[in-house]
Symmetry: C2
Subunit: 181 residues, 2 copies
C-alpha cells in the first residue's frame, strides 16, 4: 500500500484451463487486500487480463506481471520472502516478526499451486501456515494479508476508478467516482 | 466451534464442472477456519465428497450437507443470517454487532456463487462486504471467519484425525496423532 514497503504476491505454478479461476482469484485477492503487485507464471496470461481489467474499472494502483523465472524471482528478491504452506509455522506465532520485517523492507508472499519444490521452502525467510489444515491458497492469502496489514487494507482508497461500490445495508449501489465528487 | 452457537456456511449456487473447485474451497475454508457445517446445493455432490474425505483424514467434527432448498434454508434459519457480498456494509463497521449476535444464537453465512437473487439480500440480517471490491468468495469467507472468531479458530483442536501436520520452519512433517500421544 501507499507509503509502505512494497508487498508483492507470487503465484507459484499454473495449469492453463484448470487453474485459471484460482490464479485469477489469487490476483484479485492480492489487489483487494492491500498488495501492490502480483506475479503470475508466464502461461497465466488469461488471469493477467482479467485482473488488469478489474484494475482498470475499479482502480489502482496495482500491477500484474508475468515471469518465466519463478525461482529466480524468489532467489533475487531484495527483502523478505514468506511462503504460505499448510506445513509451515503457525501464522499467529510468526505474524508479529513478519510485520516488523515489512516495516523495513519489501515483502514477497509466495502462494503455491500444485507442486512447490523444496527449493522454495528453503529460500523463504518464513514458511507460514494459515492453519495446518488443507484448505485454499486464496483463503490463506486473504487471512495472511488481513493480519499483515492489521486491517489497514480495508481503508485503502483507489485511484482512477471508473466505478465505485457504495456500501449498502440492502441492495446494490455503483457510482462513477468522478460524478460523485 | 465447540461450546459456541453453531456457524454454518451456505454456498448459494453451483455449476457442476465449472464451479467444483471453488465450491470445494468454500467447504474446506469453512472447515479449516472454524465453521461447524457447510451446506451445498444438491448438484455439488463431488465437492461434498472431497470435503468429507478431508474431514475423514484430518479430523472433525465438521458436517457437509446438500440441499435442494437454498432459499428455504435461509428463510427458516433460526438465528442470524449474514450474506457476504461486495455490495454490503463494510465488515470493519458491522463485525462487532455480528460477533455479539453470534454469542446468543447460531449464525448462517451465505456465500454467493454467480447470481444471487434479491430475496437473499432482503432475507439477510446483514449484507457484508469484505472490501467493496470484486475478488473471491473464498477470500471473503476466510477474512470474515477469522474476524468473527477473533483468531480463536486457529487454536481449534481436531478429533478423530488419521493425520496431523506438525508446524515446521522448513520442510513437511505429518504424523499419526494416535501414535503421537
Amino acid at each position: 500500500m501507499q507509503d509502505e514497503p512494497e508487498v508483492a504476491v507470487l503465484r507459484y505454478g499454473h495449469r492453463p484451463g484448470r487453474d485459471d479461476r484460482m490464479t485469477t482469484h489469487v490476483g484479485l485477492t492480492a489487489r483487494a487486500l492491500g498488495a501492490d503487485r502480483v506475479v503470475f507464471p508466464d502461461n497465466a496470461g488469461q488471469s493477467q487480463e482479467t485482473v488488469e481489467d478489474i484494475t482498470g474499472r475499479f482502480g489502482g494502483p496495482f500491477e500484474v506481471e508475468l515471469t518465466d523465472a519463478l525461482n529466480a524471482t524468489i532467489r533475487n528478491w531484495e527483502g523478505t520472502v514468506v511462503h504460505l504452506t499448510m506445513y509451515g509455522e503457525r501464522v499467529q506465532d510468526v505474524e508479529g516478526e513478519i510485520r516488523e520485517a515489512h516495516r523495513e523492507e519489501p515483502l514477497l508472499v509466495v502462494v503455491g499451486g500444485e507442486k512447490v519444490p523444496f527449493e522454495v521452502y528453503e529460500g523463504a525467510d518464513w514458511n507460514v501456515g494459515v492453519t495446518n489444515q488443507p484448505h485454499s491458497e486464496v483463503a490463506g492469502l486473504a487471512v495472511f494479508l488481513d493480519r499483515l496489514f492489521d486491517g489497514r487494507e480495508l481503508e485503502r482508497e483507489w485511484e482512477d476508478a471508473d466505478r465505485q461500490v457504495i456500501p449498502m445495508a440492502t441492495g446494490k449501489k455503483v457510482v462513477d467516482p468522478d460524478e460523485e465528487s
